[in-house]
């Protein structure tokens, strides 16, 4: 209960207060996107700029998603409590996922809706990627004070979907590559570790209970 109320308190401060650190986080968080777009329009992305841009945006979405998932384990393992930055990280992940999807639809596919629908149906890595994005949408919509208050306890249940989104995003990256290069495997391992930690944490023996049975 105390954990929940602390979390609620800090989350409502997110809406009301103007935390300069959080503001800085949003601004620096959007820097990679700004840089890649700048490199793109100034011809600094090499031979296949569309592909480089698309991949970079997707990769940053995954990175922010992983960062947002790392906040709670970090605290539970005795690290600093960064919970007030979790929403910013989650929203940055959503912004990058949106840019990634937009780049794919607009730049890569030239808004050819038939080709996009065929991709989603026929190509498993795109199906999985779309799943990850779709799952992030309700999470982003409910990442604000009024929605948190409105949903009450259901908010936490709903936001457990982030695990599904992270797993799908990591899988999307692995399925995209032709062989087994290290990079997508590292990201998948990070996501797996963060999810397994949650399982392990929920199953951990609780000292109070043990003394009670003794």
């Amino acid at each position: 209960m105390t954990a929940l109320s602390i979390q609620k308190g800090s989350l409502s401060r997110t809406v009301l207060g103007a935390d300069p650190v959080r503001r800085a986080l949003y601004i620096t968080g959007m820097m990679p996107a700004a840089l890649y777009f700048y490199w793109g329009v100034t011809d600094q992305l090499g031979a296949d700029p569309q592909n480089i841009l698309e991949r970079a945006l997707g990769l940053w979405a995954l990175r922010f998603l992983i960062a947002s998932l790392a906040i709670t384990p970090l605290r539970q393992l005795g690290g600093p409590n960064l919970i007030r930055y979790r929403r910013a990280l989650g929203l940055l992940a959503f912004y990058y996922a949106s840019l990634h999807l937009t780049t794919y639809m607009l730049i890569d596919k030239g808004l050819d809706l038939n080709a996009i629908i065929a991709d989603i149906i026929k190509r498993p890595y795109i199906t999985v990627g779309m799943l990850a994005f779709t799952v992030l949408v309700p999470l982003a919509i409910t990442s604000n004070g009024p929605m948190i208050r409105r949903l009450g306890a259901n908010w936490r249940k709903l936001h457990r979907l982030v695990y599904l989104a992270a797993a799908a995003a990591a899988l999307h990256f692995i399925m995209l590559v032709k062989v087994w290069p290290l990079e997508p495997l590292i990201y998948a391992a990070l996501v797996a570790a963060l999810l397994l930690f949650r399982v392990a944490w929920s199953l951990r023996p609780r000292p109070q209970r043990r003394t009670a049975t003794n």
């Binding site: 011809d43 992305l45 190509r123 890595y125 032709k178």
Partner: protein, 319 residues
Amino acid sequence: MLIRKSTDIRPSEITDQSAYMRRREFMYGAAALGMAAALPASAFAMPLSAIKSPLSTDETLTPLKDVTTYNNFYEFGTDKDDPSKNAHTLTTKPWKVKVDGLVNKPADYDLDDLIKSIALEERIYRMRCVEGWSMVIPWIGVPLASVLARIEPQGSAKYVAFETLVRPAEMPAQKGFFQPLPWPYVEGLRLDEAMHPLTILAVGLYGETLPKQNGAPIRLVVPWKYGFKSIKSVVRISLTEKEPKTSWSLQNPREYGFYSNVNPAVDHPRWSQATERRIGASGGGLGGLFAKRHPTLPFNGYGDQVASLYTGMDLKKYY
């Protein structure tokens, strides 16, 4: 109509071609002065002279910079820029090609002997990668058929198998824990595909010897098949009776077949093959970022010449 005309003759097209021609003239001039090595294009490149071929396309060439920095050559790493960063370590002289199997003249041929006195031709071909991108590359090489005539396949030979060099000391992705493919990289063609006039062994591009990242010193080029069929840095050519194993179909038989003809009608589970992105076609910048995909043609547009090789075959089954 006006719009159409302007796309037919783009200024970039004219500039590219003429700049390229002038570059070659300059190269020859420089070579005559004995200062070829001082030119920056690539330290080891030597100028090659070649006769033009009616089999060349007149489409806009992909810039040399893109042809030499955007490569799939997994022996040097899986990123597109890995080969251009890592391939400089490759020793390409001396270079032996082992010729064996069902041939009358098996031997370890020195590269020069293998292609000696066969006229070098310039072949400007479209190159379509299975990943959905394409280039137009001015290769220099010899018809594979001429080399096969030299080594004399026996009557029972039905296929040609190829192997890439294995040399972990010079090919970084051939050592260590994470190796993307089993080595050697192997490829193969049916004998009639290998004998087809479009099929060449390339030893150069853009008027010079092959850059190492492009498969120096000798590689296969089969323009109507996906790029991975065009095996690089070849050290072995074997004539066989059985269909040879090929690296990508060994790695993932559901996705890659032996034939791997460019075919927009055969869908790939990873990439739509209906369209392609022409690398470097719109001059970079915003143009490159917003370049439109264009339709992929059956047999990469070489259907008139090669479709008859596959008469009666179900190309959806033999993909």
